[in-house]
Amino acid sequence: MPDPSDPRASEPNDPEELRFQYTPSDEPTPEQEIDNPHAKDTTRVPAVIDALRTEFGDDIHDVERYANEDTVYVAKQRIQDICRFLKEDEEFDYFVDLGGIDNFTDEDRYEVFYNIVSTERQKRIRLKVRVDEADMRVPSVTDIYRAANWNEREAYDMFGFEFVDHPDPRRMYMPEDFEYHPLRKEFPQLGVPGSLPLPPQTPDGDLTMDPFAAAHGSQPRKSYEEPPVDADSDE
């Protein structure tokens, strides 16, 4: 407890305390679930959700709606069956997008979403699976939708999901020598010093370790040899 008579005691030690504390806005109102000036007809798919519920029962967890878009949370283990059902029985033939989300919560920290389109029925559906930090395995849907291949590689690269049975489990953007998953919330925006060696600056030199290391407060390793400093001198 700071002493109120001592003016210096009131100075915050933690820079976090100096930060402007902004109160987050409220959750969406029930009207906002449907009403939106940019709402589309394609994203509302009650018929498909009913079909999914009859086919998969409790494996369809819950349905969220915002701006006239349906999001269906499904069980992680059944995602392959659900995608196959959507493709074969519900004409969802065009795979658009897949990606991860880091919610930074204790339980079910990550989410993977699937954005699939039916060109015949003119519908778009979004599926989501919840992924816990302790078990990062997600069944790969590349068998069903070949187009998911690179997107799954990217999600692995950025979040570290392990897509089971993926035909080509390599990183998408970062080199294999990189050890981190940059879109996780704990990864610093400036990067990790020294994590990514860059090519040497002279033909026979060492690899350049981090050109921006000074930004992180560390000295970069020299890529050339400096003449030895005389041990007797004062400097």
Partner: protein, 448 residues
């Protein structure tokens, strides 16, 4: 030191000091991969997938591993294709991207919605205006912001100009890839005129950042409208000229026909998007599928071709440019007078007059820069536009503050490049250049 894979004609020694593991994995993948033709045959039941085993002998020394790029002008950016050749035929190919990866999805999480907009310019840098509009529409959908009519017309005109500009560049470099260098200059003359229009409208030629959340930055000047009218009047004649040169040109047709063919089923399976998808006979265009702005109010057709080869994509993009001109003319006719930005201080920046001459205006300007638009907590939505390259969508998640919690960019070039890995297999080396040109990837967008 990484052990380089050993197959005939390949001895890397310890050449890979730089990202050794990365290169090793690429070559491993190239060896272990099944060519798409083999996979298709196996799926049809004509025999099983061959067991991948090291070829011990290659007496004629036909096999060769070739790195095309990343520093190669024909790859249209920093695309690296590692291909396994059998004579002159590409047997297998592996693409390596990420040489332009800047992590803009991560950067977006640390910026207000408006602050992120200049970054979208640098995604598909051949048509920045489309990206601006895509981003603004996505944020407006997330926050439920209504945009005045005039701003929507302005956005439409400028997006279509961006499409023409992007297709002009595609045609110019496409001709150059096939050997006709002077065509590049002719299409760039037209691009130059569009640059001039962008300059007049937005004050910047290339990375325009003209659209704003809740509207656009400023209205058209009379001079700008005049310039756009002049351009739309003269542009179709230019296209006619290009068509006269190319449509029946034997070299052009033979370089493009039956090259990089994708059937309708394959296109859907590979998930290609934009003109490449429509060139294979799938009439999927976001302007029709999920009409945004005023696209449901203007009259235009979506060109579709059935052949699915490079020549079909050429005809299709030329048709698209003509349709864009048609859309722009209708927009100019139907544009109404009115405000160009939302009047709500929580939805858009106030006008400069308000900022300079009223206290409230200045406070609003400050607050919008500091906090900006605040979508509801936990809201998430996806909005896509039809960019020149295909479906460009942003999937945004809000945590109820002025900064997005997660931005997911669905980039059309990324999707198209994924398909290109398969399309290249079975073609000739000389045709890979034409195929890259005809799928029209932009690495700034594919690498995010």
């Amino acid at each position: 030191m990484a052990q380089a894979p050993d197959f005939p004609g390949l001895d890397f020694g310890d050449r890979f000091r730089f990202w050794p593991k990365h290169n090793e994995k690429i070559y491993e993948r190239l060896e272990g991969k099944h060519a798409w033709l083999e996979e298709k045959q196996a799926a049809r039941g004509d025999g099983d997938l061959p067991v991948t085993e090291k070829v011990e002998k290659d007496p004629l020394e036909n096999e060769m591993i070739l790195n095309i790029g990343p520093q190669h002008p024909a790859t249209h950016g920093v695309l690296r294709c590692v291909v396994k050749l059998d004579g002159e035929t590409v047997e297998k190919s592996v693409l390596d991207i990420g040489y332009l990866h800047r992590g803009i999805e991560k950067l977006a999480e640390h910026k207000t919605y408006q602050e992120f907009m200049p970054y979208t310019d640098r995604m598909d840098y051949l048509a920045p205006y489309s990206n601006n509009v895509a981003w603004c529409l996505a944020v407006e959908k997330l926050a439920g912001i209504e945009v005045p009519d005039r701003a929507q017309w302005i956005r439409m005109i400028m997006s279509e100009l961006a499409r023409i500009s992007s297709h002009c560049l595609w045609l110019g470099v496409g001709m150059m890839d096939a050997g006709a260098v002077s065509g590049f200059i002719w299409t760039f003359q037209q691009r130059e005129e569009i640059y001039a229009i962008m300059d007049e409208v937005a004050g910047a030629r290339f990375t325009v950042s003209h659209s704003r959340i809740g509207g656009v930055a400023n209205d058209f000047s009379p001079r700008a409208i005049e310039m756009i009218e002049d351009f739309t009047d003269s542009f179709l004649d230019e296209v006619d000229g290009w068509e006269t040169l190319l449509n029946r040109n034997r070299i052009w047709v033979e370089r493009n026909r039956d090259v990089g063919r994708i059937t309708k089923e394959e296109a859907l399976e590979l998930g290609v998007t934009g003109p490449n998808l429509r060139g294979s006979g799938v009439p999927y265009d976001v302007r029709r599928f999920e009409p945004y702005l005023k696209y449901d109010e203007v009259d235009f057709t979506i060109p579709v071709r059935e052949e699915g080869d490079c020549l079909a994509r050429y005809f299709l993009r030329l048709d698209e440019m003509k349709q864009s001109v048609r859309i722009i003319k209708q927009c100019l006719d139907r544009m109404t007078e009115g405000p160009i930005r939302s009047d709500d201080a929580k939805e858009a920046y106030p006008s400069k007059e308000e900022v300079y001459y009223s206290m409230e205006g200045m406070i609003h300007d400050f607050m919008y820069t500091d906090v900006g638009t605040v979508p509801p907590k936990g809201a998430h939505s996806y909005h896509a536009v039809e960019g020149p390259k295909g479906e460009l969508g942003f999937y945004l998640t809000s945590d109820g503050t002025g900064r997005p919690w997660r931005v997911r960019i669905n980039a059309p070039s990324f999707t198209n490049l994924q398909a290109m890995e398969y399309i290249m297999e079975g073609s000739l080396v000389a045709d890979t250049v034409v195929i890259i040109g005809s799928l029209d990837p932009v690495m700034g967008e594919a690498d995010k």
